[in-house]
């Protein structure tokens, strides 16, 4: 008994052509030629979106000049933050809670992906000779660059996310070149690595709150640089592991 899944009117965002394909039954989706929205609806949609563009453009053009912003406030407190690059200071000190939640989002995506199904392997086609040899050349370099990016984040653009992306890239490259992780490494080690970022960050943050005169996620000024580096290291490993595992697409 088919349930009546009622869709909205022409402003249906999911866009499948309702009237056309509503009653037809099915071959594989790729083989079925699908007429999408009729031309009139598309034109109307285009006009509506053009109006939206103009409204937003007007909003942007009306923004005040000189711009109100927080660069002065950040610059004033930069010395107490433990790093000398303002973006890193915002990410890991002034708005550290956002970064903690962001690491949690990444972990949540991993847990969600693992809950859906098992990893289906990276093999599209078997890797050619170039791809098989590429990791031997690139992976050590990538590790080096990742380490540099992590260190440089304190005074230049860089930091945990950039370095973590590189590590994730290493995982993807290994996967594509036919060298996936051995079975023993796919279970517990990946879980531990994925948890490490959030755990270290939350533990240090809560610990900072437990100190006398301290607040949650408040790094004491003398220790700020070391604490930030510790958090970034754990975060980098976590992000790399999670990104590579997301590419694998399921639980091991």
């Amino acid at each position: 008994m088919p349930a009546t899944t009622e869709m909205g009117s022409g402003r249906d965002r999911r866009g499948a052509s309702r009237r056309e394909s509503g009653g037809q039954a099915r071959g594989p989706a790729s083989a079925r030629p699908r007429r999408e929205l009729p031309l009139a609806a598309r034109v109307l949609l285009g006009l509506l979106l053009l109006a939206l563009f103009c409204a937003l453009a007007l909003a942007v053009l009306s923004l005040p000049s000189p711009a109100p912003g927080l660069s002065a406030a950040v610059a004033a407190r930069l010395d107490e933050s433990g790093v000398s690059h303002p973006v890193t200071a915002v990410l890991l000190n002034f708005r550290a809670y956002d970064t903690l939640l962001e690491l949690t989002v990444l972990l949540l995506a991993l847990i969600g992906t693992w809950s859906v199904g098992t990893a289906h392997g990276c093999a599209g086609s078997p890797p050619g000779p170039l791809l098989r040899q590429l990791p031997r050349l690139l992976v050590p370099l990538m590790v080096l660059v990742a380490g540099y990016l992590l260190w440089a984040g304190a005074h230049a653009p860089g930091g945990a996310f950039q370095a973590g992306s590189l590590l994730g890239g290493i995982g993807i490259l290994l996967c594509l070149s036919g060298r996936p992780l051995p079975r023993w490494a796919q279970g517990w080690p990946v879980r531990l690595l994925a948890l490490a970022g959030v755990t270290v960050f939350a533990a240090l943050g809560a610990g900072a709150g437990a100190l006398p005169g301290g607040a949650l996620l408040a790094w004491p000024p003398g220790w700020a640089k070391a604490l930030i580096l510790a958090v970034e290291l754990a975060a980098m490993l976590s992000i790399g592991a999670i990104l590579a595992a997301l590419f694998a697409g399921g639980r091991p």
């Binding site: 999911r14 406030a73 002034f94 939640l101 607040a215 408040a218």
Partner: protein
């Protein structure tokens, strides 16, 4: 036991306890159920501690990292947030016990349900506490991801399609919200709600109208207000029963809470916008109730009922233009009562499905004599949904009706009353079939007692909510004068 009234400790606990529980559950999947249950009980206890602290000492503000706004992020626990956190805790504990029994035989689903659910709870608490627009964006995304992953736990095609649609809608809504936040930041120079509210008056009108539109549109999409409700029935109707309870009772309220908070503190008061929301709410009530009547599957019927109930919440917007807070109190009462009642309904639906193997309620074979507690739970929950006294739903609707009659808004009053009649129709449709034999004799599978009792306790809670009006009224006084938009300096700022 001496309660520590320090706001920091309780607010820290309500966010970090479920987080720690989720991390542990992910680390040790075999013990996920007991660890998860323990974390749930602890988090609920911390939530009630925070509620008492707020009732005793007033608004609790925390500057995270010791940095005051606008540089840092603020937590603010006031009556409104605490009321919703308490509802989350109540429903959460009941659903946790239910889920412990529901997933007992499914290893994979059990292993992943607990970390996902605890992270959802953490995200909800973080959302209710936060007073920073961008931080709220991250918590909204957290809630969306967790909810979508939980929806997909069923594993079948309907659940997966519902989850994909849900996640896409969630991302789209968050993106629209983020667009609004970007415009607010670049016009006002801050993302702190209190500060932005004071600066919005001087900001250019076009940018502020665009920001308001973007933020409200995103949150309406997430709250599934007609006509943006298309994603809700497939998602709530095909998720596992405890997940459906969480989605309808809690997740929907999170985006509604945010909309209400921003409306009161920052964006609101626009007359035509409030009227538009009222019209859409009225349409949602009628449309959702009519479609619920047409359903043959129990969970889809309950999901369409959610679409209708969300409409009532938005009818309060035009009613509040007159200035007194009675309409808001009514809407909040409805939100809390709906949380308890809808969760009870979905949990009892899950028990019925476990009993009969399917959810076509017309074909269930005499569940009443064999599952008396479950049917009692469903009926009591239905009483609150219909708005019969003495339930919480009745109080909420009564406050809305009183406000409507006092302002002469007879159209809105008629919609509220008609919605109650239609709700009675679809509730009794289900209950009626529950007394009759089905087309085939069916032995019926055993339903664990904890599943029946958790649904019943929630339903009784929805009824008790109505009786507790004098106790709860101070918690639910909402309005421009009590929205907590105080001075910009945050307590506890070392920065």
């Amino acid at each position: 036991m001496r309660w520590d009234p320090g706001g920091l400790d309780w607010t820290l606990a309500v966010v970090f306890l479920p987080l720690a529980g989720a991390l542990l559950c992910f680390l040790v999947p075999r013990r996920a159920a007991p660890v998860g249950l323990g974390a749930a009980v602890l988090t609920a206890a911390a939530t009630f501690g925070l509620t008492l602290a707020v009732l005793a000492d007033g608004v609790q503000r925390t500057a995270l990292g010791g940095w005051a706004a606008p540089l840092g992020i603020l937590w603010r626990a006031d009556e409104l947030s605490v009321a919703l956190m308490a509802m989350t805790a109540t429903v959460g504990v009941a659903v946790s016990f239910y889920a412990g029994a529901y997933f007992r035989d499914e290893h994979t689903e059990r292993a992943f349900f607990w970390p996902l659910w605890l992270l959802l709870w953490m995200a909800l608490n973080a959302l209710f506490l936060s007073a920073d627009l961008f931080n709220l964006y991250v918590t909204l995304e957290l809630v969306g991801f967790a909810a979508a992953s939980l929806t997909a736990l069923g594993g079948n095609a309907a659940a997966l399609a519902g989850a994909v649609r849900y996640l896409m809608v969630s991302v789209l809504g968050s993106l629209s919200y983020l667009l609004g936040v970007a415009l607010v930041y670049h016009a006002c120079g801050t993302v702190d709600i209190t500060l932005a509210a004071t600066r919005m008056g001087d900001a250019p009108g076009a940018a502020m109208h665009a920001a308001t539109g973007a933020i409200i549109a995103g949150l309406l999409l997430k709250t599934a207000l007609f006509p943006l409700h298309f994603w809700l029935p497939p998602a709530h109707g095909s998720a596992p029963a405890p997940v459906s309870a969480l989605l309808s009772a809690l997740v929907i309220k999170a985006s509604f809470y945010l909309l209400l908070r921003l409306w009161l503190d920052m964006l609101g008061g626009g007359r035509w916008l409030a009227e538009l929301l009222g019209v859409l709410g009225a349409a949602a009530v009628i449309w959702g109730s009519l479609l619920a009547l047409r359903q043959t599957r129990l969970k889809l019927l309950i999901a369409y009922s959610t679409v209708a109930q969300v409409g009532y919440l938005f009818i309060a917007f035009p009613l509040s233009l007159a200035g007194n807070g009675a309409a808001w109190t009514g809407a909040l009462y409805l939100a809390l009562a709906h949380g308890l009642a809808k969760a009870a309904m979905f949990l009892s639906a899950g028990s019925l499905i476990r009993f009969g193997g399917h959810d076509r309620f017309a074909e269930l074979d005499r569940p009443v004599p064999r599952l008396p507690l479950t049917l009692t739970a469903f009926t009591l929950a239905g009483v609150s949904i219909m708005g019969l006294p003495p339930s919480g739903g009745f109080i909420g609707k009564w406050l809305l009706l009183e406000s409507a009659f006092r302002q002469g808004r007879y159209g809105l009053a008629a919609v509220v009353l008609l919605g109650g009649v239609l709700a009675a129709a679809y509730v009794f449709k289900v209950v009626g079939h529950a007394f009759t034999p089905g087309p085939r004799e069916h032995r019926g599978l055993r339903v664990p007692a904890v599943m029946e009792w958790s649904a019943l306790l929630l339903a009784v809670g929805a009824i008790l909510l109505g009786l507790g009006l004098p106790l709860l009224r101070p918690l639910l006084q909402v309005g421009p004068e009590s929205s907590g938009a105080g001075s910009a300096a945050a307590v506890g700022a070392w920065g």
